[in-house]
Symmetry: C2
Subunit: 198 residues, 2 copies
C-alpha cells in the first residue's frame, strides 16, 4: 500500500477513524443492551480496538457517555431547528410541536437510558443546555401558534412531560406503551393550543 501524506497526518487520520469506530461501537452496545452494558472493555471489544486506544480517545467512561449524549442532543436539535417538516421549519406551529414531542419520545425509546443517566442528579437535571434549547423551541412554537399568557412557564411545563426518567418509568414500570405516551403528548398539545374561551 502507498503511504499518502506524512506520518503525523496518518496518525491524525487514525485517531479520527478510531474515534468514529469507538462511538459506533458504543451506540451499538447502547441500542442492543442499554447503558449498564456500556463498559470501556465492551466498547473496545465491539470496536476491535485495544482498551488503551479507547481510553486514549475518551479518557473515561463518563467522558464517552457525555460525548454520545452531546451528539444525540445535537442531532435532535438539528432536526427541530433545521430539519425537514413537520419537525423542522415549514409546518404549522401546532404540527411542529406535536412532531417535537413525538421525535423526543422516539429518541427516548431508543436512547432513554443514556438520556436518563444524564438527568440523574436532581440539582443538575434541569440545567442542561439541551433542555434550555428545547424549552426555548417550545416557547417559540407556542407563541407562533398564537398561545397567550405566560408562555415560558407553559413551555417548561410541556417540556417536563418529556422527561426521560418519567417516560421510562411510565413505559417500563407502568406498562404504558410509547405509542400511548406519544398520543398523550399530541392530546396535551392540542388542548393547550386550542383557542381559549373567555
Amino acid at each position: 500500500m502507498l503511504q499518502v501524506g506524512p506520518p503525523a497526518e496518518t496518525e491524525r487520520a487514525d485517531a479520527v477513524r478510531n474515534r468514529a469506530r469507538i462511538l459506533d461501537a458504543a451506540r451499538t452496545i447502547l441500542d442492543a443492551s442499554g447503558v449498564d452494558a456500556l463498559t470501556m472493555d465492551a466498547v473496545a471489544r465491539e470496536a476491535g480496538l485495544g482498551k488503551g486506544t479507547v481510553f486514549r480517545r475518551f479518557g473515561s467512561r463518563s467522558q464517552l457517555l457525555l460525548t454520545l449524549l452531546n451528539s444525540t442532543e445535537e442531532e435532535f436539535q438539528r432536526g427541530f431547528l433545521a430539519g425537514p417538516p413537520p419537525l423542522g421549519p415549514g409546518a404549522n406551529p401546532v404540527d411542529r410541536l406535536i412532531a417535537f414531542g413525538r421525535a423526543r419520545l422516539d429518541l427516548l425509546g431508543v436512547q432513554g437510558d443514556l438520556l436518563r443517566a444524564a438527568e440523574a442528579s436532581a440539582e443538575s437535571r434541569y440545567s442542561s443546555p439541551a433542555r434550555a434549547a428545547s424549552v426555548l423551541h417550545i416557547t417559540m412554537l407556542l407563541r407562533s401558534g398564537g398561545v397567550q399568557g405566560d408562555v415560558p412557564v407553559l413551555a417548561t411545563t410541556l417540556n417536563s412531560t418529556l422527561d426521560a426518567a418519567l417516560v421510562l418509568h411510565e413505559n417500563r414500570v407502568g406498562s404504558v406503551s410509547m405509542e400511548r405516551i406519544a398520543n398523550g403528548w399530541e392530546d396535551l398539545v392540542r388542548r393547550v393550543t386550542a383557542p381559549q374561551q373567555t
Copy 2:
C-alpha cells in the same frame, strides 16, 4: 412530683414525647435552613435532647428524613382527600384540580428540599406511593370534570409539572416566582379541562 402509672408507661410516654420533640425540631431546622442543615447533631441541639436519644428514636438521618417526608405526604393527602374545599370534596373538579396544584406548590415552597431529596434517584423518583396517590387523584378529578381521552396519561403529565426538582429549579435557578408557577398550573388546568372543539 407524683409518679403516675408504672415506670414502663412513663418510659413509653417519654419516648412518644421525645419523638414529637425531635420531629418538631427537625421541621424547624428544615423550614429555617433547608435539608442540608438537618444533621442529627443539629436536631438534638434544637430539641434539647442528647444525640443518643435522637438516634434511639430514629436510627439514622435518612430514617428521620423518611419519617418527616411521610408525615408531610400524609398531611397533604388528608388535605386533598378529606380536607375542606376547594382542595377537599365539595368544590367542582376544576377548582379542586387548581387547588391541588397550588397546595402542592405551597408545600414545595416550604419543604421542597425534603421532597426533592426523596425524588433523588432517577429510577425510584416516580415509584413512590405518594406520587401514585396524586396521579390517581388527578385522574379522578379530570374524569369528574368530563375530560375525555386517555385520562391516566394526561394525569401523569399534569402531575409531572409539579415535580419538586423541576419547580425548585425554575424558582431558584430560573428566578420564576412560586406565584407565577402556581398561576401557570391554573392556566394549564383550565386549558386541559376546557371543552374540546371537534
